[in-house]
Symmetry: C4
Subunit: 253 residues, 4 copies
């Protein structure tokens, strides 16, 4: 396989036909498999059942991604912008090339953090970032982001209203409940935990007001929570409805 | 009653008038009664009160459905496609004929799984599948499915966003909470259980973060949950609104 | 005050001006006060603080409502339909006259159920039915009911889908969780309690699956719950949007 | 800096250019910092770490706000309405001047309530009211309030329906559950706490029905809760959609 064919197989923007090339389809599959492996590896029970398996799999995936990285670096020379040694160096600092590098690095850092449980967990999380590499192959999320951006002003405003309500309700419960439950409502930041759970209607129930006055304020907060959900939903519904009508009126012309 | 009349009574598509025939109305009623009986039979307290009743009822329902099945097989000869022995054999492998068969089979399988509690429960669940037979008599769900299908692209995209958020929030809580609560947050699949309960705003409260950092990430997850609910709602509202306007503009023409 | 003036004061339909007459405003206020009193009376702590007060208040409200009832009966003679003794008898069996009677009866029945706690609570609830009398004075709920009725077909369909999902998810959890938690998931009706709490995203958390398979099905149920909320919301949003546009296009003509 | 320049720097309405002046930007920043300090001060752990810091910071913020207040009072003379001593006195009783005063007062009241924990918490809450001062600098919330006001009739109606459902469901559970759980359902006001948590789909789970009949009514309440959320969301979606279309049709003209 020569350099030009390889370039067309690897770079989605160089391809004339629709859809992904065979090689990129394989890479997408590898990314998904590597992510699922990384998720399952976190479970101690599965690690205990097959101690070596996950290490071998991880090494294989990293190998594959390293080969892919090197092939990309080699074939990118077809692009006039990244020709020669200095061009390749410039390519290595583009956004997607850095994302590709991040997919490989955690493996090598893993040898250094052998004994720190927290750093080890953080590295496992870093492997999940490989999923971001899929963004290179799809532009579908762009249209959704546009719809959200077109109403960003209203959404920000309703977020601001939600934030003030959050602060206000946690202040109220701090004033009336702090004496009865100092552990859960002893300060505004502590009361915020309850406030978020209530205003988003999640309602864990690990912390609930026990005084009569606290229950009255909590009830009002819960009712306000409906508005907090109804506002962004209404704004988004209007945005999607508008985007739909524009598309159909464009089609008529 | 001759074969032609029977066929018109049994096959909804052969009927010229609107609505269901008397015989099919009776069959629908039997299906509903059989389902309710199957639901109530699962309750040990009711089984203890009337040990033999449920067995007798089940036998009666299966008898009725068997007679119906044989009558359908006999009368389907009126349809030129399923004439003769080989036509009937072909009919037996159509979708709805198989569904009808499934409604009868669990009864006979019941004698074989006498002693296995899990298989017995599974068979009871299979009886509930009889409700699917009602689908033969109604086409109402088709319009709803169409409305969903017309916006399947956006709905899939928002499902993808929801999936990534689910994965991301469970990864975050795995990193910060695994040390404090290894049982509930000791791996990403375990943290997913908490993540789903929070992002869908169900909020059981059987598992909640206890570290300060865990609460901060949990709060952000709960707020993101509003968006997870608002997006499909907005998309569906726009779809229904669009379907409504098309219908009224069609009526004007 | 003569009979004709009294009739115009009492019957909203006989009044030419807009709004409620002074007498009816007073009656509405009395109904609200009587309801609040009935609510507060149920609290044992308040009953202990003022043992006689609530009995006196209740007697006063019943007196007032009896006088109102008799005045309505007397003045209704102005309406040609209810003239004379037989006309009044016919009026006594109209819907709103029966509602008025129901507002008085619990007081007299109270003497008979002195010792039965359950019946006493039921009678207290009956007093709350007085609020239904306010329906006579307002027609605002008619427009909301119309909006709901115009989309009743879709709403019923989505209720049917919700019902099937409810049944299906409780069947699934009955099959996989009955062995581990016979008390909470030992039958489909028992599993329904968990199922409703999850699909409506209430999520009490008093009953949660503990097996791995149960958690997988519960997670899918929770995600389906978003659709259960999104569908009626979308249908209603479309209905309200449609009603709004009709009104504004009518105004343009 | 002379009086005229100061006036233009302080009064947003006197400024010809768009956006806030440098001085007002600084004041906004000070308000935000003062609020965050007030929130963090409520946490005993942070107070213990830096006992004097919060008092010094609070004194500094109050100093700054006092200087700002005096400068506003001095420069307002540029406005012909508030010229002279009597004009300034009149200005002191305008809405925003009173809000500014409230931002300073809690500091001086703090010396009097030294020993009462509840009053001290109330004063800390009062400091949070400083955030209201930001309202002077932004008119963004006006458009959102207008959108809500345009559909206030429908929103009030759905709030009324929600209120009646709330009352009705708590009455039902009072009747059927009071005997089994007198502490949680012993009166209608007590049952209201459960009712609000269920109808808003918060679902803390601290109080749940345990009788079979109570669970049936609770299930119906939870299902009704979907409608309670769907109605205001639908109304708001229609309102935002309408506001959007009006704006775009105005732009076309």
């Amino acid at each position: 396989m020569n350099k030009a064919t390889l370039y067309q197989q690897l770079a989605p923007e160089a391809r004339h036909e629709k859809g992904l090339s065979r090689l990129n389809q394989l890479i997408c599959l590898l990314i998904l498999l590597a992510s699922i492996t990384a998720i399952l590896e976190t479970e101690p029970m599965l690690r205990a059942m097959a101690p070596g398996l996950f290490k071998v799999l991880e090494a294989m995936f990293v190998c594959a991604f390293m080969i892919e990285y090197l092939l990309r670096l080699y074939s990118i020379g077809e692009d006039p912008r990244y020709r020669g040694f200095r061009g390749r160096l410039r390519y290595m600092f583009t956004f997607w090339a850095l994302v590709d590098l991040i997919a490989i690095l955690p493996f090598f850092l893993g040898f250094m953090t052998h004994n720190n449980a927290f750093l080890l967990r953080l590295l496992r999380l870093a492997r999940m970032l490989r999923l971001a590499r899929l963004g290179r192959f799809s532009q579908a999320w762009v249209s959704l982001a546009d719809a959200l951006k077109s109403r960003s002003h209203e959404l920000l405003l309703s977020a601001g209203v939600a934030g003030l309500l959050l602060l206000f309700s946690s202040c109220c419960l701090y004033v009336v409940e702090a004496a009865a439950q100092p552990e859960a409502f002893g300060s505004v930041p502590r009361a915020l935990w309850w406030s978020i759970a209530t205003l988003t209607t999640v309602g864990y129930g690990d912390v609930t007001p026990i005084t009569a006055l606290g229950k009255v304020f909590a009830g009002l907060t819960a009712v306000a929570g409906i508005g907090i959900i109804a506002m962004p939903t209404g704004i988004l519904a209007a945005a999607f409805s508008d985007a739909l009508q524009k598309k159909s009126s464009d089609a008529e012309k």
